[in-house]
């Protein structure tokens, strides 16, 4: 019996994803999603009624997304941080934003990284930024998240999945406010950290 996994994203993670993409408009960006997987049935299976709550996002790279060493380093650092944090959060997904405005496909690189993360968390989801929805955000009244969710099927690979729900309904309006005050300049990703090690990729002060 194939149940639908429910995906819910918190405002914290959602805003970070969009701000990261907006900070580096000319590049593709990526990052990991951090969250909790709770399931009524067997948590290790792909099917079944699990609920995946995405609590936070860690922005990773905006240049040279396809090379491995820094990605491995970032994933291990994020994992160590999660273990030390003791809130029993795991790496529950991956997000990606394409370089071109009219590119709505999940690239082979994103699929590969998603596969890798799915090995550790079978219910992991991949979020792809939808530029059409993002550009219509300014017109207001849009309650849908501006990201598309892809979920993994062992037979067919990554497919455009079920609806993603926003945990807080005010997420889009807060996002619009942040965009107008150019808050993306305060966001640092792992690439920025590698360039200047004093920049914290955890971004603790972003929402202050």
């Amino acid at each position: 019996m194939v149940g639908d996994n429910k995906y819910e994203i918190s405002q914290r993670a959602y805003i970070k994803i969009v701000l990261h993409a907006l900070k580096h408009q000319c590049n593709s960006v990526n990052g990991v999603l951090v969250g909790k997987v709770t399931g009524a049935g067997n948590e290790a299976s792909e099917e079944g009624n699990s609920k995946i709550e995405i609590v936070d996002a860690v922005p990773l790279f905006h240049a040279q997304l396809g090379v491995l060493p820094m990605l491995e380093l970032a994933l291990s650092q994020v994992e160590e941080h999660l273990i030390a944090d003791k809130e029993s959060l795991v790496i529950a997904g991956y997000y990606h934003a394409n370089e071109r405005f009219d590119d709505y496909e999940l690239s082979p690189l994103a699929r590969k990284i998603g596969d890798h993360i799915a090995r550790y968390c079978p219910q992991a989801g991949v979020l792809l930024l939808d530029n059409r929805l993002l550009s219509s955000l300014g017109k207001g009244g849009n309650k849908k998240p501006v990201v598309q969710l892809y979920t993994r099927d062992s037979v067919r690979g990554w497919r455009l999945g079920v609806d993603l729900s926003l945990k807080e309904p005010t997420a889009n309006s807060i996002l619009s406010d942040y965009i107008s005050e150019k808050r993306e300049q305060l966001l640092f990703d792992f690439d920025d950290h590698l360039y200047d090690i004093s920049k914290d990729w955890l971004n603790p002060d972003l929402y202050n």
Binding site: C26, Q64, L68, K112
Partner: protein, 359 residues
């Protein structure tokens, strides 16, 4: 690739201009042009303000046309196509048959999405100037913008057959290959770059990352060498390279406890073999192999210690180390090992004495 000091100066000027000091705008724009950074929003905003102010514009003299070009490109980047069109019109009035202005027109059409018209503009310009590198590169950029990566790769390869000294083009080709997950071809591009500019740390870094991505024992060993080269060329300031070496060492060098364990096991085995009466001749052959293995392991262990931490190597090799090895020999005699076993250790002591100073 912008240096830290230059970037700091640029940020300072940007802050001044943002804060209202209009007199610094010309200097800011000129620095952006020199460093070739992409700060389109600021350039478009402040550049346009400069051009619209007659007094400031007249102070620029002939440079004003360069500023027109810069603002046009920045405006296209920010999707302010009307502003861009105005700048291009002004430039066309001043330079009616210019190749450079024609290129800007082509770019404007690209920005609008009129790909075929842009293609026609570039073709007609190429008929007059077949060797203009910018026109060839615009065609590559168009292919990339339309998502035709394989077309872009083909066009760029053709361009590089003629203009093989264009480093930016090699880098762009490497990026295209990486986005197509064609790592070996991307590595080839970086090889060309390193050959052309062997003192540029970033090319060594890029190559190391690609070798790591491709994987395999030899490639990982080579990656470590290139990371080390990056560290040397950048004076130890490149964090990616430092992390790269750490990752590689973690991947391959066994922890020291394991090394010591292997070492002790092999020595133990040597001693045990020597004392076992299995059949004189066959035993000696086996013992010979195990003894050499033990010796090699000992030497290997020393080398690993040296690589990782020079000071700890001295625990093993110099005076205190000699004493330790000498006492091992004595203990061997006590255990009653055969003559055969003394030789590898004697060889070892000899090597220590010979090479101790080098370490």
């Amino acid at each position: 690739m912008v240096g830290v000091a230059e970037e700091a100066e640029l940020d300072r000027l940007e802050k001044q201009v943002d804060g209202g000091r209009k007199e610094d705008t010309a200097q800011y724009l000129s620095l952006v042009r020199k460093l070739k950074v992409r700060r389109s929003e600021k350039v478009a905003l402040h550049g346009l303000a400069l051009l619209n102010s007659p007094s400031a514009a007249s102070k620029l003299g002939d440079d004003v046309w360069t500023v027109y070009e810069q603002v046009a490109i920045a405006a296209m980047d920010c999707n302010c196509l009307d502003v861009a069109k105005e700048c291009i019109t002004a430039l066309m009035k001043k330079f009616p048959d210019s190749n450079r202005v024609g290129r800007l027109e082509g770019m404007w059409m690209e920005a609008k999405g009129y790909w075929q018209q842009a293609e026609k503009v570039y073709e007609s310009l190429l008929e007059v100037n077949a060797t203009d590198p910018f026109l060839h590169k615009r065609k590559v950029a168009m292919a990339k913008a339309q998502g035709n990566f394989s077309g872009a790769v083909e066009a760029l390869n053709k361009y590089l057959e003629t203009f093989m000294a264009d480093h930016d083009a090699w880098r762009e080709l490497a990026e295209l290959y990486i986005s197509l997950l064609m790592y070996k071809q991307a590595a080839f591009c970086y090889e060309e770059l390193i050959l052309a500019q062997p003192t540029n740390a970033l090319y060594h870094l890029g190559y190391a990352e690609l070798l790591y991505t491709i994987g395999g024992l030899e490639n990982l060993r080579a990656a470590k060498k290139y990371y080390s080269a990056t560290i040397e060329l950048s004076g130890g300031r490149n964090i990616r390279a430092l992390y790269g070496v750490v990752l590689k060492v973690l991947l391959f060098n066994l922890p020291f406890q394991i090394h010591v364990g292997c070492l002790i096991e092999s020595l133990k085995w040597n001693f045990v073999c020597g004392n076992r009466k299995v059949g004189q001749r066959t035993c000696k052959a086996k013992e010979a192999r195990s003894a050499w293995k033990g010796t090699l392991l000992l030497l290997g262990f020393g080398r690993v210690l040296c690589e990782a931490n020079k000071s700890s190597a001295f625990l093993f090799w110099p005076d205190t180390g000699m004493i330790r090895i000498a006492s091992m020999c004595r203990s061997l005699n006590v255990l009653g090992s055969t003559m055969f076993f003394r030789r590898p250790l004697q060889l070892l002591i000899y090597l220590c004495l010979q090479h101790g100073n080098e370490i």
